[in-house]
């Protein structure tokens, strides 16, 4: 997994609540059996005016010029500013894969849907929750200043604006540790293999019908 330590990048404001994962990456692109290549279809139905197909080149497709990521000033954006309940709906991990593949390293919103929030951490993408007032401020500043960039310091748990204002955010220690070091959860969990085996043995005594039944 990619490490996340310190990142500075252009912030793109997506001023819409309840962005669902169908919107982040529509279903026709979920047929891929790979983890990569979803970036060109990120927000496909918002970004293009036609219906996208898997395995189709996106060059020459008609763009929705009003869509935030199609505006010249937000080219190369790597921080997405979003509204409440971002990532709701389907559990598809293709959503963080698409954001990551497009080049986003972080999404900042007042709230996230749980499964999406969780999926981000598995992919080196940092979801940051800030209070509504701070989010409004960032939206206003990003709209007012072309090339508006934010710095995210995971170690210090800060979002830093161009004027130097620091906004702190919270994050679970374990998730922070994994992101800072690019650690794979599975390897870490397997270090507790003895605990798992001990539990499993107890479980087998307690509910033997759950073992060996499905074959």
């Amino acid at each position: 997994m990619n490490k996340f330590t310190l990142h500075t990048g252009i912030a793109a404001p997506m001023d819409r609540a309840n962005i669902d994962t169908d919107m982040i990456i529509p279903k026709q692109f979920l047929k891929s059996i790979k983890r990569s290549g979803f970036g060109k279809n990120l927000f496909d139905e918002l970004r293009y005016l036609d219906e996208g197909q898997p395995d189709q080149s996106c060059e020459g497709r008609p763009l929705n010029e009003e869509f935030v990521l199609n505006q010249a000033r937000y080219q190369g954006a790597s921080v997405l500013l979003a509204r409440e309940n971002f990532g709701c709906g389907s559990s598809r991990e293709h959503a963080p894969w698409a954001l990551d593949d497009y080049g986003f390293r972080s999404v900042i919103a007042p709230s996230f849907a749980e499964i999406f929030y969780n999926n981000c951490f598995k992919n080196g993408l940092l979801p940051i929750v800030l209070h509504d007032d701070k989010i409004d401020q960032l939206f206003n500043e990003a709209a007012a200043t072309e090339g508006y960039q934010l710095t995210i310091d995971l170690d210090r748990q800060l979002v830093v604006t161009p004027s130097g204002e620091e906004m702190s955010f919270s994050i679970d220690d374990f998730r922070k540790h994994c992101l800072l070091n690019g650690l794979d959860d599975i390897g870490l969990t397997l270090q507790h293999g003895d605990d798992i085996r001990a539990y499993e043995e107890k479980r087998r005594q307690q509910a033997p019908w759950l073992f060996g039944a499905i074959k």
């Binding site: 059996i33 309940n85 389907s90 509910a207 019908w209």
Partner: protein
């Protein structure tokens, strides 16, 4: 000390260890796999040289991509080449790792959340995951079931555990008795309308009260299925005799002495009467009428006697923007009557509403009637091969076909339109599925979520109508 909630009992009885930061490792008894969210997980195992921790904890079936038209030619004849690869990849992965799979043309194949309970593969008191957010369905069985992403699918395959945090507890209590024509789907849509699409975020929702105690297992599954549309990863119903009766004699249910021991254990799977919930929502059953969603989020829902909302009546700017955007996308006017919405297609199916009781409800409404002329297509897609067989035994297929609906093979179908079943641009659909998001059922498609009875009523009238007018 206060008693425990069912969620806390299930969570604590599966706790392997708690990390210093409060995150926990819980043991997962069962994983259900399908073709869309598993290929990258199996690939991850292979790349790391890992094997599944416990093969007999897994069961698989393809559902999202499978065609629902005649498919006796098997996987090789799936027309969409990308879908074909995905279904084949599931077959190959299950064969390679020795995981039991009901392949596309097995009579037990079906939508994961229909197949797994029907087989007794998920049992009360167990923990389960599936790479699908509607795994919340399985909480109706008194199981702790989480929808997970693909990395977590791989994590559970490799370790038999999930890293998670104990959720807060919410009780949604619906007391009283539901009126004629008001179904479990209407109850859950009403609940989502009350608490909102993010109202359950961070909570496990237990559905309690008279209405859920009287509800069948299939109805409870419909309700828990949509807990995720209220933001909750977990929906639950306490175990009772209805639960226990449901499991007797299912293929993977315990047998003999194990059955007796299991029943004794399952009987304790209830929230204690003095359990404390962090949030309680109380609803009177008499206030619930047949529901229809008008917008592009499941919380944008009203009763059949209602009308499309007017943004001028709303103060919150984010909400006003949401309503305006939804009106534009849906092609509706503020204050328009719900019964004036004209429809183009009807879809009866999905993990929410494709079980036998759903099909019976729909058949009862269409029997002796004809699909309205303005309806281009009305699909009935049973949730599994076994549901299909049962419906055919009862003659429901004939009722549907005589009325002009199409009778299909089992799968997820038009709920998310990964297979060829989809809406055309701008078409309105009365759908028994769970999400009315933009583009969900096809590019530019306009979804209205309803119960099977309401979808059937819409099919025969061509617009929304209070189903109670047809079944009086």
């Amino acid at each position: 000390m206060a008693g425990q909630t069912l969620y806390d009992k299930l969570f604590e009885s599966h706790l392997v260890r708690t990390n210093e930061d409060g995150s926990s490792l819980i043991y997962i008894d069962r994983q259900v796999l399908h073709e869309v969210t598993s290929p990258q997980a199996f690939e991850g195992l292979r790349l790391a040289g890992r094997k599944p921790w416990r093969v007999d904890a897994n069961i698989a079936t393809p559902d999202h991509n499978v065609p629902t038209t005649e498919r006796s030619g098997g996987v090789d004849e799936i027309v969409d080449p990308v879908s074909k690869i995905q279904v084949k990849t599931l077959d190959e992965n299950c064969d390679e790792f020795g995981i039991l799979e009901f392949k596309m043309n097995d009579h037990r194949q079906g939508i994961v959340h229909v197949m797994a309970p029907e087989q007794g593969a998920i049992l009360p008191g167990s923990t389960a995951v599936c790479g699908d957010s509607h795994t919340a369905t399985l909480g109706a069985l008194g199981a702790l079931a989480h929808g997970v992403g693909t990395s977590e699918v791989e994590h559970v395959l490799a370790t038999q555990c999930l890293i998670t945090k104990q959720m807060r507890n919410m009780l949604v209590r619906v007391d009283g008795e539901l009126g004629l024509g008001v179904t479990p789907k209407d109850v859950v849509l009403h609940v989502i309308g009350v608490i909102g699409t993010a109202g359950g975020t961070g909570y496990a929702i237990e559905f309690g009260g008279d209405v859920f105690r009287a509800m069948s297992m299939e109805g409870r599954m419909t309700v828990c299925n949509m807990a995720i549309e209220a933001g909750a990863r977990v929906g639950l119903v306490s175990v009772d005799q209805i639960t226990i009766d449901y499991f007797e004699g299912r293929p993977f249910s315990p047998k003999g002495e194990h059955w007796d021991a299991a029943v004794a254990e399952w009987s304790g799977l209830v929230s204690d009467t003095d359990a404390e919930f962090d949030a309680v929502v109380e609803i009177n059953a008499a206030d619930v009428e047949p529901q229809v969603t008008w917008g592009t989020s499941p919380e944008m829902v009203v009763g059949i006697s209602g009308q499309v909302p007017n943004p001028d009546a709303e103060k919150d700017k984010v909400k006003v923007d949401g309503i305006n955007r939804a009106l534009k996308y849906m092609g509706l006017q503020a204050d328009q009557k719900i019964t004036d919405i004209q429809l183009d297609r009807v879809f009866i199916g999905s993990c929410t509403n494709s079980r036998i009781e759903d099909l019976r409800d729909a058949a009862k409404v269409v029997e002796g009637r004809k699909v309205a002329e303005n309806i281009i297509q009305a699909l009935v897609v049973p949730g599994s091969g076994l549901v299909k067989a049962q419906a055919e035994k009862e003659g429901l297929d004939k009722i549907f076909v005589a009325a002009g609906l199409e009778w299909r093979e089992p799968g997820c179908s038009m709920c998310l339109a990964m297979n060829p079943d989809k809406l055309g641009n701008g078409e309105h659909c009365a759908s028994t599925s769970n999400r009315n998001f933009e583009g969900r059922q096809g590019f530019g498609g306009r979804t209205h979520l309803v119960s099977p009875a309401m979808a059937a009523a819409a099919a025969v009238t061509g617009h929304f109508i209070d189903v109670r007018e047809l079944i009086k």
